[in-house]
């Protein structure tokens, strides 16, 4: 039944809805900090062991045993790449309009690897005017198989782009810097 206007209460009822403002404040602060740290670029590592001088008899013996393996060296000059190995003739790749021919180098190395699949080691021999960026590019081209290469294994999404993926699709996994 409707009350008379005089009987009706004029007091405003308290707002029983949840006050979201402090929650939004908190989330905005969190977002700010997360976005600040998310701007840090992800850093990864490349193993590039320096050649060690064999000093002990055991090390010399080990070096002799290693002679049975294929020796591959990539000479990097201002003109391009030159690949030397003991199982194939010398091959040169000259710089094209797109810069250093990393793709061609990679395809050639895949061919070399199929000749001696047990080979893992490769030495980079950069010339003095070679930039660090080109060295890293050559290392990338030599280290692992790409999609579509002979022997490439498709990885499950759980291990793709993770350190565990490095057990698979290796080309020349031990790339060292020579000429030092």
């Amino acid at each position: 039944m409707a009350k008379k206007p005089s009987d009706r209460t004029h007091r405003s009822r308290p707002d029983d809805s949840l006050n979201l403002t402090p929650l939004i404040d908190m989330i905005t602060c969190l977002m700010f900090f997360l976005m600040m740290f998310a701007s840090i670029l992800p850093v990864v590592m490349i193993d590039a062991p320096l050649p060690k001088v064999a000093s002990t008899a055991e090390e010399v013996k080990q070096a002799k045993n290693d002679e049975a393996k294929m020796e591959v060296s990539i000479f990097i000059t201002s003109k391009g790449f030159q690949v030397k190995s003991d199982s194939a003739a010398e091959k040169s790749f000259t710089i094209g309009p797109k810069g250093y021919p990393y793709e061609d180098l990679h395809k050639y190395l895949v061919g070399l690897k199929t000749k001696r699949p047990s080979s893992k080691e490769l030495t980079l021999m950069p010339s003095d005017d070679t930039s660090y960026e080109v060295m890293i590019g050559a290392m990338d081209a030599s280290r692992e198989l790409y999609k579509g290469d002979t022997g490439y294994q498709a990885l499950s999404p759980e291990i793709a782009n993770k350190p565990e993926s490095q057990q698979f699709n290796r080309l020349f996994s031990e790339v060292s810097i020579g000429g030092v």
């Binding site: 979201l20 840090i40 320096l50 003095d128 890293i136």
Partner: protein, 184 residues
Amino acid sequence: MGGGGGGGGSSAGSHHGGKYTKKSRSRTHMSTGLMLASMLDILMAILFFLMKNYSQIQSDFNIGKDISLPYSSSVNPPVNALQMVVTQKAVLVDQEKVLDLVNGDIAKQDLVQGLLIKPLALKLKKLKDRSVVQNDVDKKSFAGIIIMQADKSLQFSMLKKILYTAQLSDFVTLKLAVLKKDES
């Protein structure tokens, strides 16, 4: 709530000949405040996305200032080891400047026999000795790991001297710090 109040007001208005029309209008009036619930939903979605990304970032690795690292397809995570930063202006070891570069190269007075960098060799020797002393249990187990961050435009003629000095100072396990190439 608003709907119920509105219904009552309209009936009262019809009974009293429009006397309470203003009051009933104010009762049926909807809140003009911001709809914070939907905004909260959006913010929560962004927050989850950022937190997911944050968990994948190895943020304890500091990239040196004035340096532009090259990109690589490597996926090796960073490790804790001695860090050497080579910019176009200076060489830093453990965030401490060891020597200045002159025109992107090592100054002649810092070199011994054209390749060995004296201040760097002294610094690395000091760090190696400290590391061996700290590792009392097995003094032969010096790992000799060094992480190098170098500017992508630096030339091998200069880097060669740094690598040679590191090699002679028994830091033979070199790791190169690079930026992860975006696969997408």
